[in-house]
């Protein structure tokens, strides 16, 4: 259900978004950007790499993967499954 709350709060950390049309709060938006940039780097490095494969790989990095990026990945995985 899309409530007014959902429109202004980040679905991950419940902090206020900069603009209602943003997907996440400022920090999680930056994390999502970093995640996308990371994919471009991985794709360039390996030549071939699917998004799913990339996600699977970076989740294996434990503490080396930034916690905000991990939160975005985990949220999006969950969101897709449900």
């Amino acid at each position: 259900m899309v409530t007014k709350q959902n429109r202004i709060l980040c679905p991950i950390c419940k902090k206020t978004k900069n603009k209602p049309k943003d997907m996440y709060c400022n920090k999680h938006s930056l994390a999502q950007k970093s995640l996308k940039k990371g994919y471009e780097d991985w794709l360039k490095a390996y030549g071939i790499m699917s998004w799913d494969e990339y996600i699977k790989n970076i989740l294996d990095f434990g503490d080396l993967l930034g916690i905000l990026v991990r939160e975005v990945v985990e949220y999006e995985l969950y969101f897709k499954l449900n």
């Binding site: 902090k15 970093s34 780097d41 503490d63 905000l68």
Partner: protein, 700 residues
């Protein structure tokens, strides 16, 4: 004590131990009489038929206090008051009474405190408020040895050092003004929107320092590892094997790395070039405080504030010179031959000292940095007694060896690089070798140089590789600060001073803004900086603080007067606070939101408490040690006060699992280290934990 009618010269020393040393040196027989007044030791000595009464302070006896009672901002008027009147835990009351009671018969005063800004302020405030005088003579010394004290007495200045005094005073005023007003503004912004009171303190140097830590954390939180490749290879030279380095240290794509390996697959190259050069390595410069703090952290893991504490003890025992110095200079007037000769009495340094003395070259190697008041840190040559702690002994050894090294000759190192060509790809084997030890001999415990020997090879000679492979690597985020690197950052950004930086880092720990030996901001630290960065960045940017340091330097050089400087800063601060006031509710709301989330974040609930069955088991970070452990939330509930705790490993991420251990029924927690993830019982002694140790991962 002097007799009732007699007047005397009154000497103000900074600490009891310093007073004792000074009195012993000044008394012609080396035996001053000592009486306790209000339990404070007061020394009376005789010199040139004059009575000198030496009285110790215990650091600052006075502190700044707001004039008026409103708890609001801006608060711009202050006065000096005895510390014990505002801080009931201060142990300064007896010292204040002692100085007051000795005032009447003091014909004149000599300030004998440490010769720097703080020493000048300590002496001046006692002079003005307790002895009711405006002028005093000043003794300047860099060590508490007899000869330095006597020289300082004979050549004492007729008046105080105004540069030190004014820059010391302005530092107190500015820190008070900014500290009190920022903290009040922040605390009140929260109180006005959330109707709850929480003191949020942030000083003018703490703000930017904490921001360094938080900015780094933000970067780490957004980090995604990136793949890259290196070419890993090994060559055989005269039956020996050694690594060879490919011309490009890092290769960005897998394809390129694979191509290189393919093109070098015959594994036979030829020597293309031989470079050989000799390098003279001069000694490391003598220690100033920051170099000493860095080196002590590197070798002993002493925090900068601990190093300063240990150095202070060594100084008060007259074993080393004054440690709060920027200088890397050791003037010849210090009498190096005498110091070295005295050090020969210490068995550990005897051989080295004799060697240096016999070489008759007493001009030390020096660095560039200077200090107006003191030379670089050096040993006095006095013998160490038995009453040094192990850590103090370690620091002393480091200081002595560094001192010896500056009299050593330059070391000589031969570097040889051989370039190997294989199908137009270049590899290099690198060797280096110390051919003359020089100063390294004296500083050996604390310095190491690579020693890789490479035989002679001719141009065109064939070289056989054992292997050439591509190896996949991943980038890592930048390292978090430790206390030593954070101190270096403050120094590079020119915020704080040599005497205050270590203490500021300690305060950040004390206020719960950061934790750990690898420094991480707490959710509270993150919350505060985040709000300030967004709504009021001037507090957390280094620019303003750096400008203030500059202003204070100008006061020291008497380019600006204290009153003028303070007046302009008060005006500036008032305008800034006015700006803050306009945004107060905005800041308060953001702060409240952030604090609420941070409080939630700081408690990870691992499950119900097995003891009291009421509370939940939470991960708690000790403010003091930065260590984490599990404790029951009912600890704070006075009717239960459940004291259950479990230790936690210091590293790795801990999360809740909602599962129960089959062995003892306690909650299982998830323990993540790098790529490894396992479910373990919260009790370290549980039988299941031993199974984990044996068989690796229990559950995935």
């Amino acid at each position: 004590m002097p007799s009732k009618s007699e007047t005397y010269t009154l000497g103000i020393a900074e600490k009891p131990q310093a007073a004792k040393r000074i009195a012993r040196a000044l008394d012609e027989k080396g035996k001053p009489s000592v009486k306790r007044l209000n339990n404070v030791p007061v020394y009376t000595c005789t010199r040139n038929e004059k009575k000198i009464v030496v009285v110790p302070a215990i650091g600052h006896l006075f502190t700044l206090k707001q004039i008026g009672k409103t708890w609001n901002y801006p608060a711009l008027d202050y006065e000096w008051v005895p510390t014990h009147t505002v801080d009931k835990t201060a142990r300064t009351k007896n010292f204040v009474s002692t100085f007051s009671s000795l005032r009447k018969k003091a014909s004149n005063v000599i300030i004998m405190t440490d010769y720097d800004r703080e020493g000048e302020v300590i002496g001046y405030i006692i002079l003005k408020y307790l002895l009711k005088k405006n002028q005093a003579e000043r003794m300047k010394f860099s060590t508490l040895t007899r000869w330095d004290i006597l020289e300082a007495y004979d050549n004492r200045e007729k008046e105080l050092n105004l540069g030190f005094l004014n820059s010391g005073l302005i530092r107190h005023y500015i820190d008070w003004l900014y500290g009190i007003n920022y903290s009040r503004a922040l605390s009140l912004s929260l109180k006005h929107v959330a109707e709850k009171f929480k003191t949020i303190s942030i000083g003018r140097v703490q703000g930017p320092t904490l921001a360094f830590v938080v900015e780094k954390e933000n970067y780490i939180n957004l980090f995604v590892p990136k793949p890259y490749w290196i070419i890993d290879s090994e060559v055989r030279v005269n039956k020996e094997t050694c690594p060879a380095f490919y011309e490009k240290a890092r290769i960005d794509t897998k394809k390129e790395a694979q191509n290189i390996v393919k093109e070098c697959n015959n594994l036979i190259g030829a020597v293309k070039d031989v470079e050989e050069n000799q390098k003279n390595i001069p000694p490391r410069p003598p220690f100033n405080l920051s170099d000493l703090q860095r080196e002590a952290y590197k070798h002993f893991k002493f925090s900068p504030s601990k190093t300063l504490d240990f150095a202070e003890v060594l100084y008060l025992k007259a074993l080393i010179s004054y440690p709060r110095t920027d200088s890397q200079k050791l003037p010849m007037t210090l009498g190096h031959k005498r110091i070295l000769t005295n050090l020969t009495k210490n068995g550990s340094y005897k051989t080295y000292c004799i060697e240096i003395i016999e070489r008759k070259r007493f001009k030390p190697f020096e660095g560039r940095k200077k200090d107006a008041a003191h030379p670089a840190i050096h040993p006095t040559g006095n013998l160490i007694g038995e009453n040094l702690s192990l850590n103090e002994k370690k620091l002393y050894d480091l200081i002595v060896k560094r001192y010896l090294a500056v009299f050593g000759e330059r070391a000589k190192q031969v570097n040889k690089n051989i370039v190997i060509n294989i199908n137009s790809h270049h590899f290099e084997i690198r060797g280096s070798h110390i051919v003359k030890e020089g100063w390294i001999k004296y500083y050996k415990t604390y310095v190491s140089y690579l020693d890789i020997f490479i035989p002679d090879l001719k141009l065109g000679e064939k070289i056989f590789f054992n292997f050439i492979n591509e190896k996949e690597h991943f980038t890592e985020p930048t390292r978090r600060f430790n206390e030593s690197t954070l101190l270096k950052m403050m120094e590079d950004e020119q915020i704080g001073t040599k005497a205050t930086r270590a203490g500021i880092i300690k305060t950040l720990f004390g206020r719960g803004y950061v934790v750990g030996s690898v420094i991480k901001p707490t959710p509270l630290g993150m919350a505060v900086i985040e709000v300030l960065q967004k709504h009021y960045p001037i507090i957390v940017k280094p620019d303003m603080t750096r400008n203030l340091e500059l202003l204070m330097e100008n006061v020291q050089e008497e380019k600006t007067s204290v009153d003028e400087a303070i007046l302009s800063k008060k005006k500036e601060l008032k305008d800034m606070l006015l700006e803050f006031h306009k945004k107060e509710s905005e800041i308060g709301i953001a702060l409240n939101m952030n604090l609420l989330t941070s409080e939630k974040k700081s408690f990870i609930n691992l499950g119900a408490c097995p003891e009291c069955k009421v509370g939940e088991l939470r991960i708690i970070h000790s403010k003091k040690t930065g260590k984490r452990f599990i404790a029951c939330s009912s600890y704070k509930n006075s009717s239960i006060k459940c004291e259950v705790t479990y230790p936690l490993p210091p590293y790795g991420e801990i999360n809740r699992t909602n599962k129960i251990c089959q062995f003892d029924g306690l909650p299982l927690m998830e323990w993540k280290r790098g790529r490894k993830k396992e479910h373990v019982c919260i009790d370290f002694h549980c039988l299941s934990r031993k199974e984990v140790g044996k068989n690796g991962n229990k559950t995935e």
